[in-house]
């Protein structure tokens, strides 16, 4: 706690609205002074960022596990992503981080016009990022390079057409894929309840992958996972085989890459959207001249949050777009 130049008893109200007071009128009455409020806020935002890191951490763990289990999927599917777009977006976010940091400095030095402009630039970059992301997402919808079962592109990443042995192009979304779908038969084992797991004996009935009725039989107990492991092994070998044949056809379960892609970039996008809302609020307040050397906490905290959002993207970009 810093030395308090003038004691605010806690009955005092908000520093007497700044009349002759060196304190900002935005200092809440239960804090000793502006420094106390700022330090508390700073610790609070760092804790919040800590929980944000852990919030994302599970997705990074999922990424590591699935990439380790199925390197072929990641090597194949990342080529669908547009590196140029991703790189532009990285640049846009770094620029916005710069302007956010500059906004903090402007507030500290009481440069009101510069502060407003810095926030405007940050906001425009954030919106630009979301715009580019929208273009990327809509391209994925268009090419059917979506998550899970909805991954059904007609073209390989290099533009060549994917052979469709059973000629089921343009699958309807949501419905179960045709049982003879080549993408799923390769790993056909996986859809079957594996021996060892409780459930209907394998082969007793043709099990449609993902059919809720099939898995409903399985108890919710811990056992369900056991049988999956051999299936994963089976897929791994199947996937490796496909890679060596070098056919244009995607490896089985390529949709998993896009599951992870959409989960990670989607959650990141939601955070960008949250940042946009915060910076709009800051823009309004800074235009009213609320911030200055005595009171710039919110700008500082928002900028810290924004740097974290930027940092997460800096990890996402190489992990998703730049796979060797």
């Amino acid at each position: 706690m810093s030395a308090s130049e003038h004691g605010h008893g806690h009955g005092d109200q908000a520093g007497g609205h700044g009349h002759g007071e060196p304190q900002s009128r935005f200092i809440q009455h239960h804090f000793d002074d502006g420094a106390h409020q700022f330090e508390s806020g700073k610790l609070g935002i760092w804790l919040f960022l800590g929980q944000e890191v852990l919030f994302f951490s599970a997705l990074f763990v999922a990424y590591i596990i699935y990439r380790h289990n199925h390197p072929e999927i990641f090597q194949y599917a990342h080529k669908y992503l547009d590196v140029k777009m991703g790189a532009i977006n990285t640049g846009v976010l770094i620029l916005s981080s710069l302007s956010a940091a500059w906004a903090v400095r402007a507030a500290q030095l009481n440069q009101q016009r510069l502060l407003v402009w810095c926030i405007v630039v940050t906001l425009l970059c954030a919106l630009g990022f979301l715009g580019i992301k929208y273009v990327e997402y809509s391209a994925k919808v268009h090419h059917h390079t979506l998550f899970g079962k909805r991954f059904a592109p007609t073209e390989a990443p290099d533009g060549t057409e994917i052979e469709q042995p059973d000629a089921t192009p343009g699958k309807t979304e949501g419905g179960a894929p045709a049982p003879k779908e080549p993408l799923n038969t390769v790993g056909g084992v996986k859809a079957q309840p594996v021996p060892g797991a409780a459930g209907p004996p394998p082969g007793s009935a043709p099990v449609v992958p993902g059919d809720p009725a099939a898995s409903k039989e399985e108890p919710a107990s811990a056992v369900s996972g056991v049988g999956v492991l051999p299936a994963i092994e089976a897929q791994k070998t199947a996937g490796a085989a496909i890679d060596t044949h070098a056919s244009a056809r995607p490896p089985p379960n390529t949709g998993m890459f896009f599951t992870i892609y959409f989960a990670m970039t989607g959650l990141h996008g939601i955070h960008v959207l949250g940042g946009v809302i915060v910076f709009i609020w800051l823009l309004i307040r800074s235009m009213k001249g609320h911030f200055g050397p005595k009171y710039y906490g919110p700008i500082d905290f928002a900028a810290l949050y924004w740097h974290l959002v930027d940092l997460i993207w800096i990890f996402l970009f190489p992990l998703l777009y730049l796979i060797a």
Partner: protein, 566 residues
């Protein structure tokens, strides 16, 4: 602090004491927008007690159904829904927020001699998140209650026809309520510790709240993302936990327990924290091994992150991982035992008063010891293979979650009740209830250890006739406990209307909240008399004053820190 700022003093010139926080601004509308930590604590308390009664009704329905083999009240599907609701309500709505959010919210700033928590608005926001989460769980109950168990294991949770989405959504929102509460408390402890109160002059209650808050901030987000993925998986079939699409359902279990094991400590650490304060207060003796208790709280919080794998000994985890997790699980026994030994050593040659909160504290020590030691059984790999998913596990975690965490909640509630509402409850009724709850609890759950070790599996709707007598004893105990709980809450509520006025320090507590008026004014202490920081857990200057009806300090008692400022 707009509302709080406008309610200061409300025209009192100073001499007639300021109105208490309960009466300073009346009316429902002033309560729901309040930023006062005490009012928020009271609102939590109302919500949590209501949920507790609801969860208790579910538990009694489950026990009634199990009174005899076969179907009595409900069918198999409804039974699954009942135990799911019981678990989800008790874990997410009652035990996790119980001690930190309700009682912690009330006591934390007063114990620090501070006017409020660091972020009062965030505090209110957390409360509304809690309400939203509770409403979503209730929505699931109304639509078609989830039947997955409170753990929401995939693949069942992504395929069952019941209303899993609102239940999972509710748990997700409740998680964020917990995160923000934890964040708020960490900042409050760091930044509002009064001058002169170093880390090792902090009441042990605060050490517990602090370790709990760390867990809330660091573990809960992982639950958040897991439940979010589960929601997306269920709604959008993205395949992340679906083996048919290359996903892995065991990954869900890893993520889930990475939170939910620390969550066990989110439940038990504040309980232990309260215990340290109760035992020393009612022994009128300095706590034994202060530093060990403080460090063991942090030790438990750290270890809790490293043992989640012991929930998956039979889920296809590798043998090596199983062994490592088993070994780490055993280490948890060390800090837990340190606490128990220190509490017992505090009791040694102490001037023990067997008042209601102390009876709960003694019950806690016994029940926690049983719960903790049976946990060591379950941490042993080969034993766990036999006992997992049996009633032994059910009995074990009820000893820890109900027998320890909830008993501590009841003890703490009785302890701070006079401070919260300025009324003394009927001591005799409180004591009898505490004893009956202890008896009822053991009648309910001791037989379940036997049931489990003889092969009765948990979550089963029906059972072999040979288990009938054990189940019947258990059900009788559950009803005894249920009735006593209602009586003890009735006793507390009755005191609001007919109770004796409470003195400032009815129990002889040495921490700062007992210097505040009962109930405290809006900013916790009168403006003209600031709290004094006396040496922690020093009872030598406290004596019973007949005219006051409570404990007071001997005049001239020396404060700890000369440079102390509130």
């Amino acid at each position: 602090m707009a509302t709080a700022a406008t309610t200061t003093h409300s025209g009192s010139p100073g001499d007639p004491p300021e109105p208490s926080y309960l009466t300073v601004k009346r009316g429902f509308r002033n309560w729901i927008v309040t930023l006062d930590h005490k009012r928020i604590g009271v609102m939590y308390l109302i919500g949590i007690t209501t949920s507790f009664l609801l969860g208790g009704v579910f538990a009694l329905l489950v026990r009634t159904e199990l009174f005899l083999p076969g179907s009595q009240l409900v069918n198999e599907q409804q039974y699954n829904q009942l135990f799911t609701l019981h678990g989800a309500v008790m874990v997410f709505l009652v035990i996790i927020p119980g001690l930190p959010a309700a009682l912690g919210n009330f006591s934390l700033p007063i114990v620090l001699g501070a006017p409020d928590v660091a972020f009062p608005r965030l505090n209110l926001f957390s409360f509304y998140l809690w309400c939203t989460g509770a409403a979503l769980l209730l929505l699931s109950l109304i639509i078609n209650a989830a039947d997955t168990g409170w753990t929401f294991y995939t693949p069942y949770s992504t395929t069952t026809g019941t209303a899993v989405v609102p239940a999972v959504g509710g748990a997700f929102v409740l998680g964020f309520s917990s995160i923000f509460t934890g964040l708020n408390f960490i900042v409050t402890i760091h930044k509002f510790k009064p001058k002169g109160m170093g880390w090792f002059q902090m009441p042990l209650n605060l050490w517990g709240i602090y370790s709990t808050a760390l867990l809330q901030v660091l573990a809960t987000p992982v639950l958040g993302i897991t439940l979010l993925l589960l929601l997306v998986e269920r709604i959008g079939r993205i395949g992340i936990f679906d083996p048919a699409l290359g996903g892995d359902p065991v990954l869900f279990q890893h993520f889930f327990w990475f939170y939910s094991h620390p969550a066990v400590y989110i439940m038990i650490l504040p309980a232990m924290a309260v215990m340290s304060d109760l035992i020393t207060t009612f022994s009128h003796k300095h706590i034994f091994g202060y530093r060990f208790i403080a460090y063991s709280s942090i030790g438990l919080a750290s270890l809790s992150f490293l043992v989640w794998g012991h929930h998956m000994f039979v889920s296809g985890q590798s043998r090596l991982a199983g062994m490592v997790f088993s070994a780490l699980t055993f280490t948890v026994a060390i800090p837990s035992a340190i606490k128990v030994f220190n509490w017992v050593a505090t009791l040694y040659k102490a001037d023990i008063r067997l008042q209601t909160p102390m009876l709960y504290a003694l019950a806690f020590i016994l029940l926690f010891t049983i719960g903790g030691l049976t946990g060591v059984f379950l941490g042993a790999l080969n034993v766990d293979v036999h006992l997992h998913d049996s009633y032994f596990v059910v009995a074990h975690f009820h000893y820890v979650m109900m027998g320890s965490a909830l008993i501590a909640f009841l003890g703490a509630l009785h302890y701070w009740w006079p401070k919260m509402f300025g009324r003394m409850f009927n001591e005799r009724v409180g004591q009898v209830c505490a004893i009956l709850i202890f008896i009822g609890f053991n009648t309910t759950f001791l037989p379940q250890f036997v049931l489990g070790s003889r092969g009765m599996a948990r979550r089963y709707f029906d059972y072999d006739p040979e288990f009938t007598s054990f189940h019947q004893v258990s059900t009788v105990g559950a009803f005894l406990m249920g009735i006593t709980l209602v009586v003890s809450f009735g006793n507390l509520v009755y005191s609001l209307f007919r109770g004796k006025r409470a003195p400032r320090n009815p129990w002889g507590g040495s921490t700062m909240e007992w210097q505040a008026p009962s109930p405290p004014p809006l900013y916790n202490f009168y403006a003209h008399e600031q709290p004094v920081l006396y040496p922690i857990y020093d009872y030598s200057d406290l004596y019973w004053d007949e005219t006051e009806g409570g404990y007071v300090r001997r005049p001239g008692a020396k404060p700890e820190a000369e440079g102390y400022e509130p």
